[in-house]
Symmetry: C2
Subunit: 225 residues, 2 copies
DNA sequence: GAACTAATTAACTATCTAGTGAGTTATGTC
DNA sequence: GACATAACTCACTAGATAGTTAATTAGTTC
């Protein structure tokens, strides 16, 4: 990849410059670093290797991000921002409560499968005890909409008398997340232990339907609604 | 810790020697390495630091385990062996199917909570794509008993007509594991995002009961049994 | 008790790695 | 078109890090 790549369409308004482009340089570093950190972890990734895969030099990583930890934190923040943006696209308020739950579960299932690097970064950050994530600004607010959406669905179902009332949006979110995250994050050890590929195409339809069934069976459990 | 620690009770048959003790040296290294790898990860742990926390010298790590990867693999294998031993203690065949499932879920819940270092090693090895775990000898066989136990319970429940038949022991194992592993492994990022402590004492009873409820609601879902 | 070998110690090294010093060039501003 | 400064290049370094060389000592065997 060369730095003057974007000069292909100079007809644009104020089209990309040739030699200097701070935004693009920054983005380029972030993107490469994200792949590299997701691949090797914080301690496993090498600044020199990240720099080499970049269109710029190592000195620029330090210029823009301070140090290795600073770059890693920027990657984390960016990863969560991207995910939040994607998640904000979903709209399930027009569905019946039960169908909304199933849609949410399947969206999460698909989403995690489509973003294994994000799942890896989360696992890496948990190995790191979350010390870098807590420094990210305004993260709880970015997650609030997802919980509120789920809360509205639950409320509608509970009002209609078809969902149990002794559970919360966080409970259900955790249940769905754990299943969908585990499937992607732990597939390697699971395969080694049970010789069963959680992300194999042949198992996908069954596993995808199962999480919706599980959550709905729980929410609609006889004697609880 | 000094090396001559075990000389306290010399009345034993062929009690521990003072200066040379390969087994103890090996054990000592393994134990320290396990803590250190679980704490910092494979790439984050430092051989020098492991050695320093040992009652022996760095050269001994290489003498017994070859290199850093070899030591890490030995730690992984040992960790899985310890867990298997603990799990082999459980006996649920005398319980009713539904109560057996609940007991199994709660045992897993307690077990994972009691062994956070094991959970960390699993996460680390998944970050590493399981390349070191697949080299461990005979691991699938060590996990087979747990699956067979679960399979027997399911079979009994299905024969009695109280459990759905369109699911397998691996499905249920994965469902329980994902919940119990996630709770321990992802507590840091979960806390950072939702300000809710999955391992907090105040949430424990609810979360512990919930996984049993979830699995049983799924297995006994109306229309499926 | 001599010979043998497994276990252990201490000092050493090549390489890697995060981070920096110091200067150069493009670009917007007046 | 001189000036200021943000963006960028290149060469360098101190210290960390995995792994090694080689000699020594404690038990074991006969």
């Amino acid at each position: 990849m060369t730095r003057s790549e974007t000069t292909g369409a100079p007809a644009e308004k104020q089209a990309a410059k040739r030699t200097r482009n701070p935004e693009k340089t920054r983005e380029n570093i972030l993107k490469v670093a994200m792949t590299e950190f997701a691949d090797k972890g914080l301690t496993g990734a090498r600044i020199d290797e990240i720099a080499a895969k970049t269109a710029t030099t190592k000195r620029m990583l330090y210029y823009y991000f301070g140090d290795k930890d600073g770059l890693y934190r920027a990657v984390l923040q960016r990863a969560y921002e991207e995910i939040r943006y994607e998640e904000s696209q979903l709209d399930v308020d027009h569905l019946e409560p039960a169908e909304a739950i199933r849609a949410l579960a399947e969206l999460t299932f698909d989403h995690h499968e489509a973003h294994p690097d994000f799942i890896r970064l989360v696992a890496i950050e948990n190995t790191n005890r979350g010390v870098n994530l807590v420094q990210a600004e305004g993260l709880p607010e970015t997650q609030a909409p997802a919980i509120r959406t789920l809360d509205r669905i639950l409320q509608r179902g509970q009002d209609a008398g078809i969902f149990r009332t002794d559970t919360t949006a966080l409970d259900i979110h955790m249940l769905i997340s754990s299943y969908c995250v585990f499937r992607v994050a732990n597939r390697y050890t699971f395969k080694a232990l049970f010789d069963w590929d959680l992300t194999g195409a042949e198992n996908r339809p069954h596993l995808r339907a199962m999480i919706g069934d599980v959550v709905l069976a729980y929410l609609q459990q006889p004697g609880k609604v």
